[in-house]
Symmetry: C2
Subunit: 881 residues, 2 copies
């Protein structure tokens, strides 16, 4: 039986054979195929690697023979021979996985050198120093990579040699020194492995191939795959290629280049090179490379050839290329090409430019930009080139960066804010009492609480940077300072926070502002032409609504009314309402809130004139608006022991009783959402009235407004029917009182499994559904987000129990199954039912694709993510039709 | 078009026409049909009532004519005539709904009397006093029921007449007095309604029918229906029947009887009667009635006829009958028969006796006993005939009654318990620190916390009576007393609690012990023959396991291991494990726990020798084993202010930090269940080892044991696979170490929606499923049980948003849909997958029926409910096949 084909010559492969030949190999083959100068060689397939593992780390049968065969061809084509002291064939051995894993696996250069061939190389090149430099590099790499000898041990020998010669740099060493070093390296190898360095080049070759296969499963490769979610069973290919040398003198060199600027996208060659150097010298940064443009003067002919090749490669691949090249004695060789990594800004500019150049279609341009990367440019952020003194890392609770003076108290934050100071409010955690401080601060930093803690939710709502749950901080309110890692930070000290990474940084750092470039706006217009999924924003204020509209939102998918309740001037009234002894006192508080809420809704509806605005009635449990029981209990103890005024004490005790009676074991599953509307209909009634009175005012002003009244946390059609009846009644009353008629609809959140399971029934009373996937994820998985992310999510992801954090990427299998069910059941009852999503997943590209697949009408996300969603929705359409 | 038939003569109906004729009417018709002496009459159908409401409270067309028609027939058959002063026809008007609603709707007797016919009645009976007594009764009832005049106003006139005559009792009034009273009643009616009392008997009749229809929707009827879950749209029938009079002298009388003793089930006539009285006099209790046996001497002939009739009725209905009768001048009339209400004990005895008499089949006997009623006899309970001084009512958290001295401290409870005192532990709420007190107490009473509070869960686990969340109690630990309703109860005072009703009672009350009578055991044996659904018990101790086995449990469906962790001698070790600085310290604590857990499992497995025992690995969040943060914070404040020892303070502060770091926002959705196993595998490993070492010991003793290791709170097959691998490894290790092999399986709880949704995947790794419907209900509905039952469940049930409390009766539509899905998906992967339920629903008859329908293998419930489940499972099989 003829064995499988495990080895491909470069001229047998193509770019689309990446799975079999690895990325590097496939591109080497492709370049060879289209006539670009590439040192010849061959590729051992990823399949051979996979079988190597299946066979218990043995080469699959036939592979070795095929390698020997191709080596013979290589010898014939180059006129060199492995182990021939006269004209030795030297090769490089490089790994190359289907998905790039830079630096994770092993490479051996100059393979084929031994005590004889090194002399041949010296003779042929007339450069003994070069030859022994190559040899010692092989011994080092082979010793390290293939034989597993600590790199430091080679390093120490080299340093000793420099000491002996009393020099500081490698290039100060001479031929004899390298010869001495090579000798010492061979001794080291023999000492460490009890075997001499293999002088047989074929033995070297197979040992190196074995080592590369092995390196697929070294620790750093495994960790890299875990982090980058690369499957463990792909395997790596091995590239065996004729060595070319950039270190053969002043007419040799090596470099890397991008066909366009990878950080701005500008259409000009970008890169650098070193004369008389090997590739690793560029990476190591020992000498400062020259910009690629300098090559034009130094070697005009080579430069022109290089520019032509770059253009050819870009046109061929129809994408910006990341290229490695070597010049050996005036001859240009390409050693690698691949699609270049780029910043979000560059990705956008390159994609749009390439459409204009006719290189790619608009759809391809849309697919070229990774929506996840856009976060980089949609928030104020720390200048990526800044050096940071990171003192701690917390949870990245609300993206954006901020800088300011440390302040520990909300009142003080407000005062300093009014005086024009920039402050960062630092608290163990925040409560509604801190809202005015949060408003005044540039950013929020807490030492406790998760991604849905008060600070995080409020900050995200305000689009304000927040790092929370930064447990390394020890906050000492009494002394107005915090300590972290033994350092003390006092009130007034400057710190910066990065809400996108969770970093807390000493001092002030330079920032970069967000910006929708013209190219970006153009790309998004193309995306809008393609996508069928609508994009709305979650916004609680007219400012946010306006921002969202500017970013292209086609409506508001979620307006939370509770944040309005938490404003400092309202909180006392809200508390009065909650603590009311009876309906009368409650209704007097509600009377005071009505005009305020009407004002809120007036502003938002006006900002979104002509577009739908989903307004969710009060959702959080009432105790969120009250002080904490523990703080009260401590205060009462203090009052008792210091003999404070009996009136004070009694008041606090009464308040504590009420707080306790409202406190809940599991607030997430407690008395909130429409359950509040069922037990305190007057609260929802006030809100409905505020919405409709605002709508009537705007209609009278000649504006079209489309409020969608949303009932949260429904589990049964009966809740919806009960509350809808009230809403419809109030709408009728307002129309009668004002003599104005206005549009409106009534619908519901789907955020509890039961609502999804019974969506056919619920749809009978709902004019729209909106998936609240934050809560739906919490209930479907039985995961309290704050608790999960603080306590066990890391283990769940680390042990691969879950592939992704389900609060970031929608859990398609579980939550998605329920959503699909709800869509199908809901549309069974009402084929035209409007269905959207307003959980944080509405801004996540992967989740947006799923929303497209199951036929939602729109996604709704934070204003800053609206561009992300527009792009992701277009990509979903292109991928899924 | 001929109108619908709205009126049925008694001889036109049958017992099975209850929906149309109402219960009373159908049975009057049935008795008429089988030749039992019933005063003639006719029935206006429930359909007429329903149409009455549809038409806006108007009689449906044709109904009145049909009534007139049947009245003529009645006149012909009786020889009497409505309004005929010579021989007036008098009738009673009684409501009669398809489902009995005793006392809820209206009745008018003696209808047909007016100023003329009363004289005729006087002449014909020769008893003027009797005639005017009848007349004034009509005026009173008609005035009250039909005309809506306050009953008190009639009462006052009667009292004035007695004052005038200077007498105390009705029977001291003479004919003239009644005449005078009737006159005053008529004046009252004219004054109140501006119309005289209608003298036309036909007008009286239709007004009375109208009033009965109307009374279907009076407030007390509506409330009764709500409480008893009777649909609002059934409507009531109206029975028009010839009056017979038990108050016509010494040869007349009236009474009620049961064909068997309704409290014991003994097969002998049971009832009482009054000579010379109308039915309402028996009910009113003005005179003491005589036992039915006395009738044999007073009227032997009538008695024999009555006994025969009773036997006939019982044989005819094949059920114990509740009968009303009247004797008019020596003639016996039956006025009502219906299946008699009975105690659980009686229901069982009657059913079993009737099988032995050949009256009913075993299957019918099984269907005759309401499983819900069995609670009465399966717990120690308060003697139903005791007079109770109820001082407050809390949540019925754990059934059973208990009595003892009040004690406010767990240590003291333990001390007094050891001295042989019976105590009730009274706490605002309990914590794990109180366990030894709970163990020592007869029962637990708390002022805070819901049905799943610590006290409730622990008490139910121990089968110990508990009333919790009794908010009326103000507990004052400092003075060792509580106040309720202005009364003070001190340490040492005697109280009783009833955990089945939530009542808290002053003093000691007489108790009745639970008892499985021979008849009950026989009935349950029949049930076992019929049912296909298995019945297991939830038990955490060998004692409970033994009890469950005695009650017929076929295995343990849930052994919770956490209660074992809470034992007073273990808690410090458990806390040491939790607070451990690192794995080493943790493992030293686990080493101490291992032999204890092994002992636990040894005991339970031994008690259930030969039967399967499902052992759930640790489930609750770790902070449940630690003190409360608030208490610690208060203590720290106190220590600081009093300048306590710095060491103490630092220790408490460190503990508080740890408690805080473990505390959770929503513990129900937090770091618990298998999430603990994922993050602290060593805890689960210790438990697995304890189980298997116990199993090995028992196998070596020659016993067969079948442990089923259960992984809780699974949401993904990966969790199960990860932990199962560990369990299987440990089993292998133990087998190797002990040289003993043993049976075991590994399976999972299905208690989170995602597990149900992905049950096909989960089943691949599971050898069994057990539905944890308590948690599954919490997550599917997004209801925290403790919060829901304390805060909004009452509104949800009151406003009919939900039909039933879903924590008591399984929510078939939502939770049930998920369960069905999980069963189908699970069996798709493994057709023979063993599936059970261990939530509290496993003891609820309605939920058991559903479990039978969706094909579960078994239900598991608390030991005391095992007989309930056996019966309910048999009923489910009989009903559903």
């Amino acid at each position: 039986m003829a064995s499988k084909k495990y080895v491909y010559r470069f001229d047998e492969g193509r770019a689309d054979m990446k799975d079999l030949l690895g990325g590097k190999g496939a591109n080497l083959a492709e370049m060879t195929r289209i006539g670009i100068p590439v040192p010849p060689g061959f590729i051992i397939t990823t399949e051979a690697c996979r079988e190597f593992y299946i066979e218990g780390r043995k080469f699959p049968p036939g592979m070795e023979d095929q390698v020997r065969e191709e080596l013979k061809t290589l010898e014939k084509n180059t006129g060199k021979k492995m182990g021939d002291p006269e004209n030795p064939l030297l090769v490089s051995i490089r790994s190359g996985a289907p998905i790039s894993m830079p630096g994770m696996m092993d490479t051996v250069l100059n393979l084929g050198l031994n005590d004889q061939t090194v002399e041949g190389l010296a003779r042929n090149t007339g450069d003994r120093r070069f030859a022994y430099d190559c040899y010692r590099r092989l011994l080092n790499m082979f010793g390290d990579v293939v034989l597993g000898i600590e790199h430091q041990k080679f390093e120490r020998i080299l340093e000793m040699q420099k000491d002996r010669k009393n020099v500081s740099f490698d290039h100060q060493l001479e031929a004899g020194d390298w010869e001495e070093v090579a000798r010492e390296y061979k001794r080291l190898i023999e000492r460490e492995t009890s075997n001499p360095f293999p002088q047989d080049p074929m033995e070297q070759l197979f040992m190196a191939i074995y080592a590369v296969f092995n390196s697929w499963n070294n620790d750093r490769a495994k960790i890299y795959r875990k982090i980058n979610k690369i499957p463990d069973d792909l395997g790596t290919a091995v590239n065996v290629q004729l060595m070319v040398f950039g270190n053969m003198g002043g007419d040799s060199g090596t470099g890397v280049a991008f066909t366009r600027d990878p950080s701005t996208g500008t259409n000009q060659l970008y890169g650098e090179y070193l004369i008389n150097a090997q590739g690793e010298d560029v990476v190591a940064g020992i000498r400062t490379p020259q910009p690629i443009s300098a090559l034009e003067e130094e070697m005009p002919e080579v430069f022109r050839q290089f520019v032509d090749t770059c253009q050819l490669l870009e046109r061929h691949y129809r994408n910006m290329q990341d290229i490695e090249f070597t010049i050996e004695r005036g001859r240009l060789y390409m050693l690698q090409t691949r699609n270049g990594k780029r910043t979000a800004q560059a990705a956008i500019k390159i994609a749009v430019d390439m459409v204009k150049q006719g290189l790619i279609t608009k759809e391809e341009a849309i697919m070229r930009v990774d929506p996840a990367q856009l976060n980089q440019i949609l928030h104020r952020r720390i200048n990526p080139s800044a050096r940071l003194d990171v003192i701690a890392v917390g949870l990245p609770a609300s993206p954006g960066a901020a800088c300011g003076k440390i302040v520990f108290d909300a009142d003080e934050a407000e005062k300093m804010g009014q005086e024009g100071e920039k402050v960062i409010l630092v608290r163990t955690e925040t409560t509604p009492d801190d809202i005015h401080g949060i408003v005044a601060a540039q950013g929020i930093l807490t030492s406790r609480g998760g991604m849905t803690s008060h600070a995080a939710v409020v900050a995200r709502g305000m689009g304000k940077p927040c790092v929370c749950g930064c447990e390394a901080l020890r906050i000492d309110y009494d002394h107005e300072q915090f300590t972290v890692g033994g350092q003390v930070f006092r009130k007034g000290d400057l710190i910066s926070i990065d809400g996108a990474t969770g970093q807390v940084i000493r001092g002030e750092v330079p920032m970069v502002d967000p910006d929708l470039s013209d190219e970006f706006r153009e790309l998004l217009r193309w995306a809008d032409e393609v996508r069928t999924l609508g994009v709305r924003a979650n916004a609680d204020t007219p400012e946010d609504a306006a921002k969202a509209r500017d970013f292209g939102a086609e409506g508001i998918g979620l307006t939370r009314t509770e944040h309005m309740f938490m404003a400092q001037d309202r909180l006392p009234i809200v508390q009065q309402m909650i603590l009311a002894a009876g309906p009368e006192e409650r209704s007097s508080a509600l009377d005071k809130l009505l005009p305020m809420q009407r004002g809120d809704f007036y502003g938002i509806l006006k900002a979104m004139e002509g577009l739908p605005v989903t307004i969710r009635l009060l959702d959080p449990p009432l105790h969120e608006f009250l002080p904490h029981a523990e703080e009260l209990a401590v205060e009462i103890t203090r009052l008792r022991m210091t003999g404070g005024s009996p009136g004070d004490l009694a008041g606090k005790e009464e308040l504590l009783r009420k707080v306790r009676s409202l406190s809940e074991f599991n607030p997430m599953l407690g008395h909130r959402g429409c359950r509040l509307g069922i037990t305190f209909p007057e609260v929802y009634e006030m809100q409905a009235r505020a919405i409709f009175e605002a709508a009537a005012m705007l209609v009278r002003e000649g504006r079209r407004v489309i409020p969608e009244v949303e009932i949260p946390l429904v589990i049964d059609v009966n809740e919806l029917a009960y509350l809808k009846e009230m809403v419809v009644r109030v709408a009728g009353e307002v129309m009668k009182e004002t003599g104005v008629s206005f549009e409106y609809t009534v619908g519901t959140m789907i955020e509890v499994p039961r609502a999804a399971l019974l969506a056919d029934e619920v749809a009978a009373e709902a004019e729209f559904f909106s998936f609240g996937t934050n809560d739906l994820t919490q209930t479907t998985l039985g995961f309290s987000r704050d608790d999960a992310e603080g306590k066990f999510m890391a283990d769940y992801l680390g042990k691969k129990i879950l592939e992704e954090n389900p609060f970031v990427v929608l859990d398609r299998k579980g939550v998605g199954k329920l959503m699909k069910m709800a869509v199908d059941l809901g549309r069974k009852t009402k084929p035209d039912l409007l269905i959207g999503i307003c959980g944080e997943h509405g801004g996540d590209p992967d989740s947006i694709e799923f929303c497209h697949q199951i036929g939602l009408n729109y996604v709704s996300c934070s204003p800053f993510r609206v561009p992300v969603a527009r792009l992701a929705a277009a990509q979903a359409k292109i991928k899924n039709g």
